[in-house]
C-alpha cells in the first residue's frame, strides 16, 4: 500500500523514500529479526517444557529392553505391557481410585467451606477479619514435612492412619487457606449493590446469595476447585507418610514401583504417565479458567 504521492506544497517533488523512511526500513528489519528470534525462543521453550513428560510417556510404551537401551531409542512400536503390569500385578487400579476419590472429595469440601468462609469475610465487617485473613495466609509458611508429624500422631492415636477419610479431611483442611484466599479476592470484586437490591426486593440474605452472588462467582469457584483438585492430586508428602497401604494415592505409589533393585524405568514411566497425564489433560482443558484464577487471585493482593 505504498502510494507515492508528491508533496504539493513545498518546492521539492520527492518520492516517499526520504531519510526518515530509510531509518524506518532499518528499524523494520531489526524488528523482523527480533520477532523471528522471539518466536524461536518461544518455540524452543515450548519444546523444553513438553519434552520430559513426552519422553516418560514414550518410555512407558517400550519394552524393558528398549527402555534400557543405549543410545536411547526414538522409534519403536508401542506396547502396553508396562501398564498391564502396573494394573494387574501392582495394584495401580487401587491407587488410581484412591487418588480420584480423595482429590475430588477434598476439592469439593474445601471449596464449599472455603467459599462460605470467604463470603463471610468479605461481606460482613467484623473485628478481626483482617487478622484472620493474614493468619490464613501465613499457614502457607510452614514446611509440610514438619506439619506431618503432629498429624501423624493424631492419626495414630485415633487409629485413623491409612484411611481414605483421614486423607480427605486432611487435604480439605490443607487447601482451605488457599481457597479462602482466592475466593476472597473474587468475592470482593462482586459488588454488593446487586445483593442489596435483591434484599430490598424482599429476598432473605440466603436467597439473595444463592440467586445473585453464586452465579456470578461460579467461574471463580470452578477455577478454585480445579486448582485444589490439582494440588490434592499431586500431593505427595502427606500421603507418603500417612497412608502406607490401603489408602495410598498415586504419587507415593510411584516409589513402590521403584523398590526393586534396578529401577524399572519403563514401568515407572507408565506410573508417571498414569499420574500426570490425566491431570495435565484436565489442566489443559480448563487452562483459561486456571490461569485467570491464579493470576487474578494474586493480583488482587
Amino acid at each position: 500500500m505504498k502510494v507515492k504521492k508528491e508533496v504539493t506544497f513545498s518546492s521539492h517533488k520527492k518520492t516517499v523514500v526520504t531519510d526518515s523512511y530509510l531509518s524506518f526500513r532499518k528499524y523494520e528489519q531489526k524488528r523482523k529479526i527480533g520477532l523471528f528470534l522471539i518466536y524461536l525462543v518461544l518455540i524452543v521453550t515450548c519444546l523444553i517444557a513438553f519434552f520430559p513428560l513426552f519422553w516418560m510417556f514414550g518410555t512407558s510404551l517400550k519394552s524393558r529392553v528398549e527402555a534400557f537401551a543405549t543410545p536411547p531409542i526414538w522409534f519403536f512400536s508401542p506396547k502396553l505391557d508396562s501398564y498391564k503390569t502396573l494394573f494387574f500385578k501392582k495394584n495401580a487400579g487401587l491407587f488410581l481410585w484412591n487418588s480420584i476419590i480423595i482429590s475430588m472429595s477434598s476439592s469439593f469440601i474445601s471449596v464449599v467451606i472455603g467459599t462460605i468462609g470467604a463470603y463471610s469475610l468479605t461481606r460482613f465487617e467484623f473485628k478481626g477479619s483482617q487478622s484472620i485473613a493474614f493468619w490464613i495466609l501465613s499457614n502457607r509458611l510452614m514446611p509440610p514435612v514438619a506439619r506431618v508429624l503432629p498429624i501423624f500422631f493424631i492419626g495414630q492415636t485415633l487409629g485413623l492412619l491409612d484411611t481414605r477419610i483421614s486423607l480427605i479431611v486432611l487435604y480439605s483442611a490443607m487447601q482451605l487457606p488457599f481457597v479462602i484466599w482466592m475466593m476472597r479476592g473474587f468475592l470482593q470484586e462482586i459488588p454488593r449493590d446487586i445483593e442489596e437490591a435483591a434484599m430490598v426486593d424482599g429476598d432473605s440474605w440466603f436467597a439473595a446469595a444463592r440467586k445473585v452472588t453464586l452465579p456470578m462467582a461460579m467461574p471463580a469457584i470452578i477455577a478454585t476447585a480445579i486448582f485444589v483438585l490439582i494440588l490434592s492430586w499431586n500431593e505427595f508428602t502427606f500421603a507418603f507418610i500417612l497412608a502406607a497401604g490401603r489408602a495410598k494415592t498415586l504419587p507415593p505409589s510411584v516409589l513402590t514401583f521403584m523398590e526393586e533393585g534396578t529401577v524399572l524405568w519403563h514401568e515407572v514411566g507408565a506410573a508417571a504417565s498414569i499420574i500426570s497425564i490425566p491431570i495435565i489433560l484436565f489442566a489443559l482443558l480448563v487452562q483459561k479458567n486456571l490461569v485467570r484464577g491464579l493470576t487474578f487471585g494474586m493480583l488482587k493482593d
Binding site: K2, V3, T18, S20, F24
Partner: protein, 360 residues
C-alpha cells in the same frame, strides 16, 4: 517559522487523503464525531502511529517515520497518562531527565512551569492524590517544560466535569497564546472547538469535510454534515422537493415555501437536475408567534419546552418532523399548543444530499 505540512493516507482506511497545514503559533482543532479518524491523525503527527502512505513535516523537517522521541513534539493525553508511581515533580521532570539535564536546570525549569500553571503546592504529591483539574495541569506541565515545536492534545477537556471545562477552555487558550505555542488538539465537542481554536478542521469518516476559522465554518458550512455538527442546538433539517416551475420548495408535500426570484434562478442555473434538496435553518433564526405573522408561516405544535434562563428552546412538531427553535423568554407556551412558525429565506441553507449550497 513553523510549517506543518502533512498528508496522511489510508490506514485501515481510518484516515483518507488528509491534507493539512498548520501555521506557526496557531491553535488548530481537529473536530469530528467518534471514530472519524481525528485521533489517528494526531497520533500520526506524534509518531505513535505510522501512516500507510503520505508524509508528515514538522518545521520543514520530514518526520513521517521517525520515532516520537525524535520529533520534538509534546503530547497531552486524554486520560493524562501521568506516571502513577512518580511524584508530580518527577512526572514533569521525566522528559528532562531523559535528556540528561542537570538537576539544577531541571529544578529551574520546573519551578517556572509550576509558577505558570499554579501547581507549586502539589509538586510532591502522587497522581492518585490529585483532582482531575490538577492532573491536567501536571500533564500540561510535562509537555510545556520540554519547549517542543508542537503541542498535541487528545480530547483535553473531556475528562473534566462541566464546570472545570468551562474554566479551562479559556485558561488553556490564554496559556498557549502566552506561550506562543503551536497547538493541534482533537475533540468531539464543537463548543470546545469553536471557542478555543484559531482554525478548525472538521472531519468525518476519515476525510476532511472543511477547514477554516470557526466563524467561517459556522456561517458557511460546506456540507450538511458540517452544518449539522456545529451549533448548539443543532441546525434543523427539512427534506424538501424543489419545484422549479413554481419556484417553490415543498416540504412533506404540504408545506410550500416560496423562493425569491433570485434564489430560484440561482438554483436552476446550478443544476438542471436538482430536485431533492434539504433545507437547513438554525434554531435561533426561527420565529414563533401566537398569531399569524404577516410573512410566510405555518402552524406547528409545541412538543416540549426547555427553559434555559434568559432563553428558551422550544421543541416543535410538524407532521412527522421535530425541530427546535430558540427564542427569548416571553411567550407562555404549553404542551400541545399550536403556534405560528416562520423564518426568513435569508437564513436558509440549502443542501443537496451530498454537498452544501449556502445562502446567508
Amino acid at each position: 517559522m513553523l510549517k506543518n505540512l502533512s498528508k496522511k493516507f489510508g490506514k485501515v482506511e481510518a484516515v483518507k487523503n488528509v491534507d493539512l497545514t498548520v501555521k506557526d503559533k496557531e491553535l488548530l482543532c481537529l473536530l469530528g464525531p467518534s471514530g472519524c479518524g481525528k485521533t489517528t491523525v494526531l497520533r500520526m503527527i506524534a509518531g505513535l502511529e505510522l501512516p500507510n502512505s503520505g508524509t508528515v513535516y514538522i518545521g520543514g523537517r520530514e518526520v513521517t517515520y521517525l520515532e516520537p522521541k525524535d520529533r520534538d513534539v509534546a503530547m497531552v493525553f486524554q486520560e493524562y497518562a501521568l506516571y502513577p508511581h512518580l511524584t508530580v515533580f518527577e512526572n514533569i521532570a521525566y522528559p528532562l531527565r531523559v535528556r540528561r539535564l542537570s538537576n539544577t536546570q531541571i529544578k529551574d525549569k520546573i519551578e517556572r512551569v509550576a509558577e505558570l500553571l499554579d501547581i507549586k503546592e502539589i509538586l510532591s504529591r502522587l497522581p492518585s492524590q490529585l483532582s482531575g483539574g490538577q492532573k491536567q495541569r501536571v500533564s500540561l506541565g510535562r509537555a510545556i517544560v520540554r519547549e517542543p515545536q508542537i503541542f498535541l492534545m487528545d480530547e483535553p477537556l473531556s475528562s473534566l466535569d462541566a464546570q472545570m471545562r468551562a474554566v479551562m477552555r479559556s485558561e488553556l487558550k490564554r496559556l498557549f497564546k502566552k506561550l506562543q505555542g503551536t497547538v493541534i488538539f482533537v475533540t468531539h465537542d464543537q463548543l470546545e472547538a469553536m471557542s478555543m481554536s484559531d482554525r478548525m478542521v472538521v472531519m468525518s469518516a476519515g476525510k476532511i469535510q472543511q477547514k477554516g476559522t470557526p466563524m467561517d465554518i459556522f456561517e458557511r458550512p460546506r456540507n450538511s454534515f458540517v452544518a449539522g455538527f456545529i451549533g448548539d442546538p443543532a441546525i434543523n433539517f427539512f427534506d424538501c422537493e424543489f419545484d422549479r416551475k413554481l419556484g417553490k420548495l415543498i416540504v412533506n408535500e404540504v408545506l410550500v415555501f416560496p423562493l425569491s426570484k433570485s434564489l430560484n434562478r440561482f438554483l436552476c442555473m446550478r443544476d438542471s437536475n436538482l430536485n431533492k434538496l434539504r433545507m437547513g435553518i438554525r434554531p435561533n433564526f426561527i420565529q414563533v408567534s401566537a398569531t399569524k405573522p404577516s410573512s410566510w408561516s405555518f402552524q406547528a405544535e409545541v412538543y416540549i419546552c426547555e427553559p434555559q434562563g434568559t432563553e428558551e428552546i422550544i421543541n416543535l412538531q410538524f407532521k412527522q418532523s421535530l425541530f427546535k427553535a430558540r427564542v427569548n423568554v416571553g411567550m407562555k407556551m404549553t404542551m400541545g399548543q399550536k403556534i405560528w412558525v416562520s423564518f426568513d429565506e435569508k437564513h436558509l441553507y440549502l443542501f443537496d444530499q451530498e454537498t452544501g449550497q449556502t445562502l446567508t
